[in-house]
């Protein structure tokens, strides 16, 4: 239970209480970065980027951020750009971006994905320690990049209102009491249907039995979750006002969702999130998807490039700016001597490089050091990749980078989760570890 409440002013002028810091105040270890929660976040923008203006030209420490990433300049020393990480997925979807698995080896047949990085965190003690083991967002609820170990895509929230209610709106006491009583009944019913399901199971053929296994797994998971819910039921939710943004439309929704995620991280409501951000038609622009088909030849000169190229660059820039503003919010959220940003690592990128569904050396960067665990301020080049000219021919012919799963694996390990492999990634990236 909370004894006091600390109200802070967040970047967007939001009053909120910080139950986590509260809890820390009771502990003697207050303030040391090592004790603060570490978080991971993934913002995925589909359909790739105009790489000439997205991928830094120089490798190593002394790189400059290209045009599309200009808004991230204040965080240059706190970010890494990665060249040479390959998305595994050669088919036309993004199922492998967070799972690191090539699920499309045989399209239309035995579609089995593996667990995505956010769900690994959610299932670990790190995810289980918060009210929401993971939060999965998307522009529309049909867009999914998070997968359970049993290859079920995780439902996504798309409306800021839903997210806000879930995070911050406190149910009245009588509802909570009724709910607690209810939980008891629910557990009872689940016990009973489990018996029921096992009986049905015996009467089924093999293929049906495997299908019903989903149900059995779900019942057990829900039972476990009911126990978890019960334990959270008596703890009040943190409070926060709905953030306000002047901008409306799809851009406004994305900003609002990200602001809410910032609050969710700050209040330690969750420690991992994914956001499939696909606003195909941002105001004033052509579609992102259409833009990504503007051709193979990229142009360096922003002034003279064809209008559709320029438009695509501007979409990339706008989306990166929205992300940068989110980063800026995290950077102002104090946690002891550090900030939420310091204790997080936020990955931003796309599972496709660009046109033609190229998935080699995808656009990818991360911001934040995960509480000092990740060395930042570098453009890591695992396998050089020219941003212009020959790129696509080279791509299709011989280019091979590192599997993106290597990055996931590294992040998981740095988070303190003991894994040896994630998707096709089995070698951690030593150079990014502090």
């Amino acid at each position: 239970m909370m004894h006091r409440r600390t109200f802070l002013r967040a970047a967007a002028g939001i009053g909120l209480s910080l139950p986590w810091l509260e809890a820390m105040a009771d502990s003697p270890k207050t303030g040391a970065a090592g004790d603060l929660p570490r978080r991971l976040g993934f913002v995925h923008v589909p359909n790739g980027m105009y790489m000439t203006h997205f991928q830094p030209a120089q490798a190593g420490k002394n790189f400059t951020l290209p045009y599309s990433l200009a808004a991230l300049e204040p965080f240059r020393s706190r970010l890494n750009y990665y060249t040479g990480l390959d998305d595994p997925n050669s088919a036309h979807n993004y199922a492998g971006f967070l799972t690191g698995t090539d699920v499309a080896a045989t399209p239309g047949f035995n579609f089995r994905n593996t667990i995505s990085i956010d769900q690994v965190v959610a299932n670990s003690p790190i995810g289980q320690a918060t009210r929401f083991p993971a939060i999965n967002l998307a522009t529309s609820s049909s867009m999914r990049i998070s997968w359970s170990a049993d290859s079920v895509s995780q439902p996504t929230l798309s409306k800021p209102q839903d997210l806000y209610e879930m995070l911050f709106v406190q149910d009245p006491r009588q509802i909570i009491d009724a709910r607690l009583q209810h939980l008891k009944d629910e557990k009872r019913m689940l016990d009973a249907v489990l018996v029921d399901a096992k009986r049905v199971h015996q009467q089924l053929g093999a293929a049906d039995q495997r299908k019903l296994d989903e149900y059995l797994t779900a019942v057990r998971a829900v039972e476990k979750d009911l126990q978890r819910l019960e334990s959270w039921m008596n703890k009040p939710k943190p409070q926060a006002k709905m953030p306000q943004h002047k901008i409306g439309g799809p851009e406004g929704l994305r900003r609002l969702n990200l602001s809410l995620i910032a609050l969710a991280l700050q209040t330690d409501s969750t420690r991992v999130f994914t956001y499939y951000a696909h606003d195909d038609r941002l105001p004033g622009h052509n579609s992102h998807h259409g833009g990504s088909h503007c051709g193979n030849e990229e142009f360096a000169d922003l002034k003279t490039m064809p209008a559709n190229h320029r438009d695509f660059v501007e979409i990339n820039k706008l989306e990166a700016t929205i992300f940068a503003d989110f980063i800026a919010q995290l950077a102002t959220m104090k946690e002891g001597d550090s900030t939420v940003l310091d204790n997080s690592c936020l990955v931003y990128g796309s599972a496709h490089r660009m046109l033609g569904h190229h998935h080699r050396s995808v656009p990818l960067l991360s911001v934040g050091s995960l509480g000092g665990k990740i060395r930042t301020g570098y453009h890591h080049v695992f396998s050089p990749f020219p941003v212009n000219g020959e790129m696509n021919r080279k791509l299709s012919a011989e280019y091979r980078g590192r599997p993106i799963g290597d990055l996931h694996l590294t992040l998981l390990q740095q988070l303190g989760i003991d894994v040896k492999k994630h998707g096709m990634g089995s070698n951690d990236i030593g150079e990014i570890c502090a």
Binding site: H92, M189, P306, G356, R360, R393
Partner: protein
Amino acid sequence: MFGWLSRSLMFGVLALLTTPAPSQAADAPVRVEEDHARKVRPLLEKYCVRCHGPKEQEAGVRVDTLKALFGTTSRDADLWIDVMDQVGQNSMPPRKEKERPTADEVDMLLSWIRAAQQQAIASSKEGAGKVVLRRLNRTEYNNTIRDLFGVEMRVADSFPEDETDRGFDNIGQSLTLSATLLQRYLMAAEFVVSRCFSSDPPPKKMQVHVEAELDGRSTNGPLLTGPTHNQFRRLRGKSANNMMIPVKLTSPGTYRISAKVASWPQSAGEPSRLELLEKGDNLVLLQGFDIFADEYSDGELISFDITFSPRDVRERAARNFVLAPAGNGDLLVDYVHITGPVYDVWPSPAFVRYMPQGSTDGTVVDLRRLVETFGARIYRRPIIPEDLKPLEDLYTTKRKEGADHLKAVQLVLTQMLISPSFIYLVEKRSDEKQPRLNDFELASRLSYFLWSSTPDDDLLNAAKAGKLTQPAELERQVLRMLADAKSEALVQNLTGQWLALRRIDEVAIDPKQFPTWSAHLRVSMLEETRAFFREILRNDLSVLNFLDSDWTMLNARLAKHYGIPGITGDQFRKVQLPKDSPRGGLITQAALMKILSDGIATKPITRATWILENLLADPPPPPPANIDTSGIALKKGSKPTSLRERFEVHRQIPACYSCHRKIDSIGFGLENFDPIGAWRDRDENKLPIDASGELRDGKSFKGPRELKQALLARKDDFCRCITEKFLTYALGRRLEYSDRATVEAIARRIPQHGYTLKGLILDIVRNEAFVRP
């Protein structure tokens, strides 16, 4: 992007039914090897082996030892894919090589690899031809609850979206059940039971009454004194005049919006159109009404019911309804009245029927009777002792804790609604050589096919009497069910999924570019295609009308969109098309053209792919990964080029051309229809449209009318295609290689019963495949 996913999933086995051609397919396993030895190996020896053979293995690749193996674990299979990529993209042989394969040779090689790959996929599939345990999808769940309890609640609207497979959302293999979904099942069951089996008094009705003329916010137009001295407010046509009525929903349920309205007497002939909309983030059209002028009337009462799910109320309890004129004619509004929740029976018809003795008093005997009657409806089969025991235990435990009869009953019903026997269409394993569904399982399959809902008493009684296996009874049931209003689900789902109407809102139309686009046009388009399907189904018209017809279903709005004169009013009716009209048949319908566009420009390839896939059962494979598209780049300062010129580049890249040669020209044939399906003579760059093309079989055509004739010439393919679509939907499973004979047999009979949908449906349910688990 998910389009690609479903496309690639869809591709799987359906493609197999068609490529290779039927005559070859039967002995295809032999042919893969045979062709490898006869054609493929010699080709590789001729062009590749010098660098990738016994002497040299550049890049570690050797092709002469490659075997015709395509299993999922085969290393050779991976290498074949590499070969396909390299050769397909013209990367191999290297450009410097003088001796290069011809386009035909490349095509042969690529086609062979693809076919072999598909065959391997098909033959290795487990449980082929088996309906995998199907859970109810959202539509089925909503309909089932509605039919069980007699109350429309739409609780499944808050479930996660269902997985689709080949465009269908009732495919057992693909529908998954996650912990999240189970949680929603639990919530939904609790809501439904507490709402429908309740001793609470009915919820207080919300009422809003607005006398239009007293609405002080705006007084556009004069106040009139009508014949009966009612006062009206005038809303002028062609203006922004409207009435907005804010309401606060008090609880989930059905709300009734009614209004007394009249048409301005001077608007003679044409009715005035009144639209009832809801203003949220967008303006959503709920219903349109035609109001006819009649001097002697004091107005007519219009009424509309709308159901708000618990989720709707949770998300937004404050709602704004809008009444607005949508045509030229002026409208007169006397009053608007909104009330709800409304219901015929409280708490529910099911409660009244199955708990006639009331709610508070009862014992385990009453519980048992309830489970054996209503519970049997929930499980769609008779209750057995094993079902009863745990339910009685739950009831008794709850009673011992001090709960009253009703509370304990609620718990029992809730448990039944989350049981696998309700959530899944359970079909028991049978060890016989020729397994068959039992009568109750068959009743469910029939009812979820024709109604997307649970079997009714009549059907369950037939199953109980063991009559469903009698052909005459089966036919009687099918015809009875098709005549029932619930068969509208078949219309909605097949037009929504096979004909893709569900995708109508996937891309937004740019209103600047298409000023005629409106909510009214949108629903009119959708209704044309649905009404067209309904007309063919209900009146036993030929399914070839889907390819081409000399009639269509129109209301005034759509007739205007199509430039067809003389149609007034909002009612859809069958209209004989003028002789020179390009309309008729599915592919000229505005809804499809809209769905297959990106909101700005037409998408000829998407249109063509859709036709190949959904009308001709000939879907092209998804494009390969990592295509070198350097030729497509728009050069700096280049002028807009015609579609044809832009597509010409496909011919330059073998990886593209092998498929695009059969795709592109079909798309050209529809170029006269703009992104919202209106006729045009010039494209978006003002270039004149050349709608001529050639089908793969060499048949050439010019314009949509001739394209439709060309499609009609492939009516056998169409019959096979529509059979595949209906059969997939009826069974709730993917069709497999082994289903080919079934499809052929049913398709062949289509001409014999006069090309009717009823005939097709009857043949499907009579087929062995339909009664097999």
